[in-house]
Amino acid sequence: MIIKVLGSGCANCVRLEANVKEALAASGIVDATVEKVTDYADIAAYGIMSTPGLVVDDRVLVSGRVPDAAEVAQLIASAR
């Protein structure tokens, strides 16, 4: 599974990335890679217009807010 955090490096994107890592650790998922997408043109290609964005296997799950670790875990579970 490929998880992408979209955002240009603002505080919210850093928080979302931390929540994703926490969620992965809590759900015991080891076969996931977490990537950061910081280039504006790349972010725009996902069709989202507010950062941060959470993309799991090329599906946009969240944009414009920071879900906490528990919610991220739920979102990842439902996307599997």
Partner: protein
């Protein structure tokens, strides 16, 4: 555990918590003044007639009042805005012509959840989906200018007619400024990568519609949670400006003689609005920091048009947003943007001074 994590999971649980929270808010707001009276004058024994004691009282009372108002306004608007996404707004604006498009963009700019930190992806997203640049700029101008905090605070401080005038003026500036900039043929001043998106407008709209679906899947509990997160985030950002604003307001209130402002920024000074905007544009603050100043200055006889122009210039144009937008807009366009919006604000200031005099 934070408050957000402690929220009950069920609908009735959320309802019960909401009732208690609303009661606590109303209680705190109505007891605010008496509570500080009691603490400072009765318990600590300060003399209410001394300048320092009344300034301290004003500082504590006003900070509490504005913090409570902010909490209420941000939460309600935050929850309401979970029903709208910027991606859906783009789908509405796609294919709209200039003119009608500018009017719609300004209106949607007010309603759509938007943080200036997303100004760049929003700009790319709109322009990439074929929304004209002038229409996109109307959205970007209206969003901070007519924000819920400025309007809510003006309403509680000066009544609904002033708040409505502010909204009407802000929307007019956003519509006209976006239209004027669009007419100037500003495409040449936009960074080329924005105009050559990697995906087609149709593709973008498809992903946008999918992303818009995210909003409709939220549970009531999640909406409340998002509202609370919004409160925490915005209060965490604005509190230093609020404290400085209330402190300056208190100093103006207690120490600066009334004839000082009457002489320098009163109705008879033709340059009052210009001076207010010249101070407001570079001043990096926000509505929460500006309102205590505006209230104190209104008390000292500074006319309303001048004050609304000051408020608008503080919230509409900010250096950090300009630095972000520099990634997609070249300097001449940033300059034109600042100039056109400033001229609009100045015009509104003089117009309101003339109407309200």
């Amino acid at each position: 555990m934070t408050i957000v994590e402690r929220l009950p999971e069920t609908k009735s649980g959320i309802g019960a918590v909401s009732v208690v929270a609303v009661a606590a808010w109303v209680g705190a707001y109505s007891l605010n003044e008496r509570m500080w009276d009691w603490l400072l004058y009765d318990r600590i024994g300060l003399d209410a007639d001394t300048r320092v004691a009344s300034a301290l009282h004003f500082f504590l009372y006003d900070t509490t009042k504005i913090a409570l108002l902010l909490t209420g306004i941000i939460f309600v608007v935050g929850v309401l805005r979970t029903f709208i996404t910027i991606e859906r707004t783009r789908a509405l604006l796609g294919g709209k012509r200039e003119g009608v498009g500018n009017v719609m963009a300004a209106g949607l700019g007010v309603a759509t959840p938007f943080c200036s930190c997303s100004a760049v992806p929003a700009f790319i997203g709109f322009v990439g989906a074929g929304v004209p640049i002038g229409v996109t700029l109307s959205f970007l101008i209206a969003s901070p200018l007519v924000n819920e905090i400025a309007v809510g605070l003006l309403w509680t401080a000066f009544g609904w007619n002033i708040a409505l005038m502010y909204i009407a003026a802000g929307l007019t500036i956003a519509i006209v400024a976006g239209w004027v900039l669009g007419r100037m043929g500003v495409e040449r001043w936009v960074e080329p990568f924005v105009l050559r998106p990697r995906t087609t407008p149709q593709n973008l709209l498809a992903t946008a519609n999918a992303a818009a679906g995210i909003g409709s899947r939220l549970t009531p509990q999640l909406r409340v949670r998002i509202g609370l997160q919004e409160v925490r985030e915005i209060l965490g950002k604005v509190w230093p400006y609020l404290l400085v604003g209330v402190a300056l307001g208190g100093i103006i209130h207690g120490w600066v003689p009334s004839d000082f402002f009457a002489a320098h920024a009163g109705p008879d000074n033709p340059f009052g609005v210009l001076v207010a905007v010249a101070i407001g544009v570079p001043l990096y603050s926000n509505a929460a920091g500006a309102l205590p100043l505006v209230e104190a200055l209104a008390d000292k006889g500074v006319p309303m048009g001048t004050l609304l122009a000051f408020m608008m210039s503080v919230v509409a144009l900010s250096l950090p947003e300009m630095i972000l937008l520099k990634r997609v807009l070249k300097l001449p366009l940033l300059g034109a943007y600042t100039a056109v919006v400033s001229v609009g604000i100045i015009a509104v200031g003089y117009l309101f001074n003339a109407i309200l005099a």
